[in-house]
């Protein structure tokens, strides 16, 4: 199964000791702004346990990091790389007293025909989350479509030839950082997503004063 290829790549990434050093110093938390980019809605989808659940589950002082993937992705620089980065973020979140419990990582498949709850649960087990990391899919495309439109995510079936699916999807892999008011505060391209940047952004958002936190 193609998702095993992706999961194996993720496993190898997780086993790589240490992180490559950044070629720059990260800006200090709170030293920069992350102005709201857009606002999204809450959506109800199928969790990896097969039950319907809210995708974001946000309230003031909480954050969500949402990534769209599909398990048939063979592009090592696409979904597998994105999931590897999220796994690193998961480990860092679990180790952070300030962030642990405040952040939900969300991985959502936009290929419900192939990535059902069982497949997403297999992925969840492979990634072995240590923080609040949830996995979702749709019952069908109709359930998923409002989410894709809300996040302006395109996922176009790729064709081998006219009328013949390649079994793959063209998409621009992005990760969304969302605050407790469901405002998108940053968007990351998968090719340049580094967990350290994501954590620093979460720390920056946490440093913002907000009533009700």
């Amino acid at each position: 199964m193609a998702w095993l290829v992706a999961a194996a790549a993720i496993g190898r990434a997780a086993e790589t000791p240490g992180e490559p050093p950044l070629l720059y110093e990260l800006p200090a938390a709170g030293s920069y702004a992350l102005p709201p980019i857009d606002r999204v809605s809450e959506h109800v989808l199928l969790g990896s346990d097969g039950r319907e659940a809210p995708l974001l589950g946000l309230r003031p002082g909480r954050f969500a990091v949402v990534a769209f993937v599909y398990l048939g992705c063979h592009d090592a620089a696409g979904c597998p790389l994105l999931l590897a980065s999220l796994q690193q973020a998961d480990r860092k979140l679990a180790a952070s007293p300030a962030l642990r419990g405040r952040v939900r990582l969300v991985t959502l498949s936009f290929d419900p025909a192939r990535d059902g709850p069982a497949e997403m649960d297999n992925l969840r087990q492979r990634l072995a989350p240590r923080s609040d990391w949830r996995f979702f899919t749709g019952r069908d495309e109709a359930m998923l479509r409002p989410v894709l439109e809300d996040f302006d995510q395109d996922a176009v079936p790729a064709l081998v030839r006219e009328g013949e699916s390649a079994g793959a999807l063209r998409h621009v892999a992005k990760v969304f950082l969302i605050d407790g008011e469901r405002r998108i505060r940053n968007v990351y391209g998968s090719g340049f997503l580094d967990a350290r940047i994501l954590i620093r952004d979460l720390e920056t958002l946490l440093s913002e004063r907000s009533p009700g936190d």
């Binding site: 790729a158 006219e162 621009v172 391209g189 090719g191």
Partner: protein, 436 residues
């Protein structure tokens, strides 16, 4: 050993590669690193074109040129979309998913957003932003449109308070809603281009001049010594993630287009200073700061050939530099970036501005217009798009389109398009991109 450029580009791809072999990439080398790269032959060149009074409808328009020799419409005008009026059409760029093309006008600061995904051969004007100065706090002249994930970064040229060169960077979301304005720092208040090297978390900006100058007839401007003092002389190095200026580099003579080297391990960029006719290298030093160094003359600086657009090849070895006043392109071998050598020169026409090359380096396109009041200062205001093949040694003509004869206007920025990027249209029985 330097990594294969295709593999390097795949590291930034969000688009699935279907072929088991490495795909041939066709995209312009100057595009944002956050874009999915075009795979295979480009099908179209989208040309943002400035209207000419008395020529055709006289309006600014997006012109779609057929660019695939295997498809009907090759080398011809496939479609046009007039936006009504002349706004000083100048530059534009696609969104991070390549579904929309944002283009701007330097005179009234209007921004036009085209849908290029639904029918790549026939873009549709989807939205117009008419309140850019008001929303941004007085920024004028949206110049560069650079895709960020989920946003558009716009580098501007001027301001509404005094029409001078003090300006800002602006961000909008994909719905055309304003996000923020980042004013250029004190001591380096002018703007022009903004380019990002994500591996370094560094953004470089350059500096041109304000609306008082760029909307003025060039012949008058050149004779106004006071006005000629108001051109940019700096580049700024930014912490891109924090959007904080870190360093100001002194680069006299209006440094314009910036091109970062594309290899992740190449930590330098090139620009050309228009008024001094110098090729500039911006190099990262061991301590992480940058230095700007004059590395070559472009033509004979005493003749002020006015270098404008530049294009770096995907392997970081060749740099195409256009000079507006003599209509030439010069190709430099920049494999040793601190000591470039000119290896080729060709006169493209009486005047030339923009140059776009494909990622595989085999095709190169040129257009003519710089600014409505600057074009034709040499006496011959020819307006064209010319396409060439490039074999590493010489340019060979492929096709050309006379934009005056076709009653279109002054062609400026080019962006490539490809029908195969949006395959759902094929599923619906509509073959995307067929002209007519």
């Amino acid at each position: 050993m330097r990594s294969n450029p295709v593999r390097r580009s795949l590291a930034a791809l969000g688009v699935l590669s279907l072929a088991s072999a490495l795909p041939a990439l066709a995209d312009e080398t100057c595009q944002s690193p956050y874009l999915p790269r075009l795979v295979g032959q480009e099908d179209f060149v989208y040309v943002w074109t400035l209207g000419i009074d008395g020529v055709g409808d006289g309006s600014d328009k997006l012109v779609t040129i057929g660019a695939n020799p295997a498809k009907p419409g090759y080398g011809t005008v496939v479609s046009t979309v007039s936006v009504g009026g002349r706004h000083e059409a100048h530059h534009g760029g696609p969104t991070d998913d390549r579904r929309h093309l944002w283009v701007g006008g330097l005179d009234d600061s209007r921004i036009f957003i085209f849908d290029v995904a639904s029918d790549p051969a026939h873009p549709k004007l989807e939205r117009t932003i008419s309140d850019f100065p008001e929303k941004t706090g007085g920024v004028v002249g949206p110049h560069g449109f650079y895709a960020l994930p989920g946003r558009m970064l716009i580098s501007a040229l001027s301001n509404s308070r005094d029409g001078g060169g003090r300006t800002a960077l602006v961000e909008y979301n994909h719905d055309g809603e304003f996000i923020r304005t980042i004013w250029m720092p004190e001591g380096a208040t002018y703007g022009y281009d903004a380019r990002i090297k994500p591996e370094l978390n560094r953004m470089l900006t350059s500096s041109f001049t304000g609306k008082n100058n760029y909307m003025r007839k060039l012949s008058e401007l050149l004779g106004d010594a006071e006005a000629m003092k108001h051109f940019g002389d700096s580049m700024v190095v930014w912490d891109y993630h924090a959007r904080k200026p870190l360093q100001t580099l002194k680069v006299p003579g209006a440094p314009l287009e910036i091109r970062w080297a594309l290899a992740p391990e190449h930590h330098y960029a090139f620009t050309a200073a228009a008024l001094t006719s110098k090729l500039i290298g911006v190099f990262r030093k061991p301590d992480g700061s940058f230095e700007a160094v004059e590395i070559a003359d472009i033509g004979d600086p005493s003749q002020t050939p006015l270098p404008v657009d530049i294009s770096l090849s995907a392997d970081d070895k060749s740099l195409f530099v256009d000079t507006f006043m003599d209509g030439k392109v010069r190709v430099f071998d920049v494999s040793q970036p601190r000591s470039p050598k000119q290896i080729y020169e060709k006169k493209i026409g009486p005047q030339v501005n923009m140059v776009s090359q494909t990622w595989d380096g085999k095709r190169v396109y040129f257009t003519t217009s710089l600014l409505a009041n600057w074009d034709g200062v040499g006496g011959d205001d020819a307006q064209f798009l010319k396409a060439f093949g490039w074999d590493g040694k010489q340019l060979s003509p492929r096709f050309e389109i006379d934009f005056r004869a076709e009653k279109l206007g002054r062609p400026h920025i080019m962006n490539f398009g490809q029908a195969g990027l949006y395959k759902t249209q094929a599923q619906r029985g509509v073959d995307p991109g067929e002209p007519g």
